[in-house]
């Protein structure tokens, strides 16, 4: 990807970077190249004072590896973490384990890898998805790995903040306890997004803006400084989007 053409994943990276606040302690987990790039972009632009821990980063120096990282989350030192799901529902539940019946699955997936604990202990969760369709955004997930914010547990530190997809920026609405449409991405109408989401996005009577245009400056930092750092962590992803 170069020139004025923008890859859908580049757009997502920029949207994610804008959702990172300066000063936050941010981490990304396994299989998360888009959030990793978004965090690096934020750090190279408006959020110079974030502390970022990117899983797989050879420069990451935490002495006890993931144990230490999980410990930071337990102690309330993690402000923002990124998760995804093979299914996400209206309540913001995510499924990373199985499609179909747990004992007799149609599709067995990698599993949650601590998503439940991190979803509860990080102050903010942003979900990202590589696609946006009714197979992913379902009325009810087949298996719950992590919830957005549930009242059945006595205490949790944080909750779901946003969901970034190739079509839309969604957000978790605390009042309704549900995922709603926050903004459209260029090229997609509210109607496109509703047609590709398996539940009601609460758009009735609300004005849904399009995200601010991606600037040349954002793209040039992404394709320059961020890309050279990201290649050390996610070489195959970088080759796929930007060539080798």
């Amino acid at each position: 990807m170069s020139g004025t053409e923008i890859h859908p994943f580049e757009r997502m990276i920029v949207i994610i970077s804008r959702l990172v606040n300066d000063g936050e302690v941010v981490a990304t987990g396994t299989l998360s190249p888009i959030p990793a790039a978004g965090v690096l972009l934020a750090k190279n632009r408006h959020a110079k004072n974030i502390l970022c821990m990117i899983y797989g980063d050879p420069k990451l120096r935490i002495t006890d590896g993931l144990h230490e990282f999980f410990g930071l989350a337990h102690r309330g030192m993690l402000d923002l973490f990124f998760l995804s799901g093979i299914q996400i529902d209206r309540l913001g539940n995510i499924n990373l384990s199985v499609v179909g019946d747990y004992e007799n699955p149609k599709l067995r997936l990698p599993g949650g890898a601590g998503s439940n604990m991190l979803g509860m202990m990080a102050k903010r969760i942003i979900l990202f998805t590589l696609t946006h369709d009714t197979r992913l955004f379902v009325p009810r997930v087949d298996f719950i790995n992590a919830t957005a914010k549930d009242e059945t547990v006595p205490w949790r530190r944080g909750m779901l903040s946003h969901i970034v997809t190739p079509m839309a920026q969604l957000k978790y609405d605390v009042d309704s306890g549900a995922v709603v449409l926050d903004a459209t991405l260029p090229g997609y109408s509210v109607e496109d997004i509703r047609n590709n989401t398996g539940f009601d996005l609460g758009v009735k009577g609300r004005y849904i803006p399009e995200v601010d245009p991606i600037t040349e400056e954002e793209l040039s930092v992404l394709r320059g400084l961020v890309l050279s750092e990201l290649r050390q962590i996610y070489p195959l992803f970088c080759d796929m989007i930007w060539g080798s």
Binding site: L31, P33, S97, K106, L107, G111, A113, G114, Y234, L236
Partner: protein, 101 residues
């Protein structure tokens, strides 16, 4: 001083069928020479715990038929995608899963 140095083959002999084995996994720092010997020895019925996420060692041992139970938070080949043997055996119901979500 007792000499504790062993060859991979000698180390692998300590792993017998039916044992509960922990393996440092993910996609880095995998004890591949020992794992190859375990597979060559025809070990069966292992309970395998990956520390932390399981990567190709876990998938290889599952694919080679060494594992009956796997305890895991996640089994994935990182950037290379899903773990095919784990997925296949779990979908066929041939693997007992102790999953930490």
């Amino acid at each position: 001083m007792i000499n504790k140095v062993k060859t991979a083959a000698e180390a692998a002999k300590m792993i017998r069928s039916g044992m509960h084995v922990g393996v440092g996994s993910g996609m880095e720092m995998n004890p591949m020479p020992v794992i190859r010997e375990v597979i060559k020895n025809g070990i069966k019925d292992l309970t395998l715990t990956s520390v932390l996420t399981g990567g190709y060692v876990v998938d290889l041992l599952i694919g080679a038929g060494c594992v009956s139970t796997v305890q895991f938070p996640q089994i994935v080949m990182d950037e290379l995608g899903l773990a095919p043997n784990f997925r296949k055996k779990a979908q066929e119901g041939k693997l007992r899963l102790l999953e930490t979500i």
